[in-house]
Assembly symmetry: C2
Homo-oligomer: 404 residues x 2
């Protein structure tokens, strides 16, 4: 469940306001709960507001009407312009190898994760294939794996546990940088020959969140428009895939699941990615996208660490500086979430409750990510007003008991 | 599989041409296979070309970025403007009861069908629930039901068979007007109390295809933008649902499957539905949408019946005239597919092969719909050029053997 907080107001009639000044955003009066449970990427909206003209998408009533984009390709519902934009963006950023790779478009990376599971399994096995990811793992994996009670695959929890005690065929999902804790990761289950397959969920492997340490080059890599540029409402993701049959099965899954992917959104994504790439090519923008957004994230992390250090209730992960191929500098990661750990010793402390009860901030408990509830994840991707309010409230917490 | 015919050309750079004059449409040279296997609704494109200005959708770079539309409603990812447009359109057409009903948006009716199955089943039953539909049934139901090998539900074939011999809990899908054969339908499994649930797939219950005999009022009714207005590329569908918990479970399914539905496409659908409704309110358009499209479909059926009657190789279903509440007239159905039955007696005749071998027309065999292969389904929703070419080729078939 993404959440049920009553924290969004509705703008009727015309399209929602573009300026991030409150419509459809969480309100900030002090008696209102700040919903920071989801990673809604509102932080990037102000950048796009300044780009209005260049990024405006115009679709006439008779365009994009067909189911089909190109029947000569295996992902026949993918707009050619979208595929070109994806390849170009990866080449500009250098975060993934795309030459001689297949691209598959999906309705967000949520759908692509399920398409990948489908592509790596087949009917007729004696047991469903075990799906694992190292804890703390993305909280949606268990549910997305198990909700249809498939005989093809089943959620099997923490990959470290599976490495020690698990047997049989498995799929390990490697989420890097990892949601919730922001670490750069590699597979943890030791190679068992043909028994293991990998899915790399690289939703956050973009320069605003992390140093780009190498062009990623794995069998199946998934990315999403939601986290790369902040356009979550378009529900666009893509996979970069080495093997043709895997790409074909993923496309087939998306065909059976939703008979393709919104062309309106594919074209919009292509346009916005194109603007980013053009700006890098021409150095024409006042501030380039990844430089701007990285600066915003760096600023948030600096202010967050000051508050957390001062009040001594929680701690945050420390991340090593690494050389970023994209920026040519040694830089720190600035993850999209704060992964807060209560400093008191007892594992039983419920940090989500501490935040909710003490300062009316809704985070997501560590137990949803397969670890102790002394951890809580809080989104850092809200708009500026909400982020400021979060820091203000966080600075008023002086002890865990204060939070109870 | 929607098909693999190489029948679409690609338009690079700008958005695809809006005029239906060939780009991305099947080409018509006489040695080229005409792909009429899918129901790609190109027939409506020329209408929307004339409406360009009124229907043009403009989305700036910073709009529609959030995952969330309205957290106060159970379908939190549904744009309020979309919901209002859906309710308004049904009120204008009179084809479904929407007062005191929940609306759930989906990525096409394909996703809503699966959401409905999920909402009507629950884990822990001894056996998967049987899913049935009266043959000839929509060819995608078996695959969409079984591809994940769910323990919640399984495809169990023809509803008539199940009515005679089936036992245990079941879900019957009632597709009305039915794809492939165009008949108006009711449930066929006799009521067994709590054991049976119904899904009504009303994709074609619109005035261009059928008389509107009453405002439909069933537990779960699904509709799609693809068939109502012809905008298949947007992947937008919706369900009208009586029970709150069912609507909640369907929304939950869509959350787990794709974390919502493209807002770009929801807004575009709202705009286009709004134009249709405004035109009916103001009588301002030269020709109103359903009147225009019904006239086109009537013309196609008249010409089709002439050719089929003349060459005596196939027969078509006869449909009774019924009183249409929308037009206030006694009218015939004009389905989106021709359901052709070979006139020769043997059940073994492969009509798909006859069309493909004899006149290079790709239809879909009856066996995909759970009946004999003497039946073949051919789309009547292509653009005018392709439809004319189809009739021209069909008129050259003089006997089944000619087709071999």
């Amino acid at each position: 469940m993404i959440g049920t907080e009553s924290s969004a107001s509705i703008n009727k009639g015309s399209l929602p306001s573009a300026n991030g000044n409150g419509t459809r955003s969480p309100t900030c009066s002090s008696d209102r709960v700040l919903n920071l449970e989801q990673g809604d990427p509102s932080v990037f909206q102000s950048y796009w507001s300044k780009m209005e003209d260049k990024c405006t998408m115009v679709i006439s009533g008779s365009q994009l009407m067909s189911y089909i984009s190109d029947f000569t390709t295996l992902c026949w519902f993918m707009e050619p312009e979208f595929q070109e934009a994806v390849r170009r963006l990866h080449r500009v950023v250098g975060n993934a190898v795309v030459d001689d790779r297949y691209i598959v478009v999906g309705t967000g990376s949520t759908q692509l994760y399920q398409a990948a599971l489908y592509s790596l399994t087949s009917p007729g096995g004696p047991e469903p294939v075990s799906v694992v990811s190292a804890a703390p793992y993305y909280s949606a994996y268990p549910e997305e794996t198990d909700y249809l009670r498939s005989r093809l695959y089943k959620w099997a929890g923490d990959a470290y546990e599976f490495d020690k005690n698990g047997t049989g065929p498995y799929i390990e999902v490697v989420n890097s940088p990892n949601n919730p804790d922001g670490t750069l990761r590699e597979a943890v289950v030791k190679n068992r020959g043909d028994e293991g397959k990998l899915i790399h969920d690289l939703a956050y492997y973009w320069p605003q969140y992390t140093p780009i340490i190498r062009p990623a080059d794995h069998d199946i890599m998934t990315f999403t428009f939601s986290k790369s540029t902040g356009h979550a409402g378009s529900r666009i993701g893509w996979a970069v895939v080495k093997d043709k049959e895997v790409a074909r099965k993923m496309s087939k899954f998306i065909e059976m699941s939703t008979l393709g992917v919104s062309k309106d959104s594919q074209q919009r994504a292509a346009k916005i990615m194109g603007v980013i790439c053009d700006d890098y090519k021409n150095f024409k923008s006042d501030e380039l996208f990844f430089e701007h957004t990285r600066r915003v994230m760096a600023d948030r992390w600096e202010r967050l660490r000051q508050v957390v250090d001062r009040n001594q209730v929680f701690s945050l992960p420390k991340y090593p500086k690494q050389y970023c191929l994209f920026s040519g500098e040694l830089i720190e990661p600035y993850p999209g979430f704060a992964w807060l750990e209560a400093k008191e010793e007892e594992e039983e402390i419920d940090s989500q409750k501490v935040l909710r009860g003490g300062i009316k901030v809704q985070g997501r408990t560590g137990s949803r990510f397969g670890v102790a509830q002394k951890y809580v994840r809080v989104s850092l991707l809200s708009n500026e007003e909400v982020f400021n309010q979060f820091l203000e409230r966080l600075s008023t917490i002086n002890s865990i008991s204060n939070g109870h």
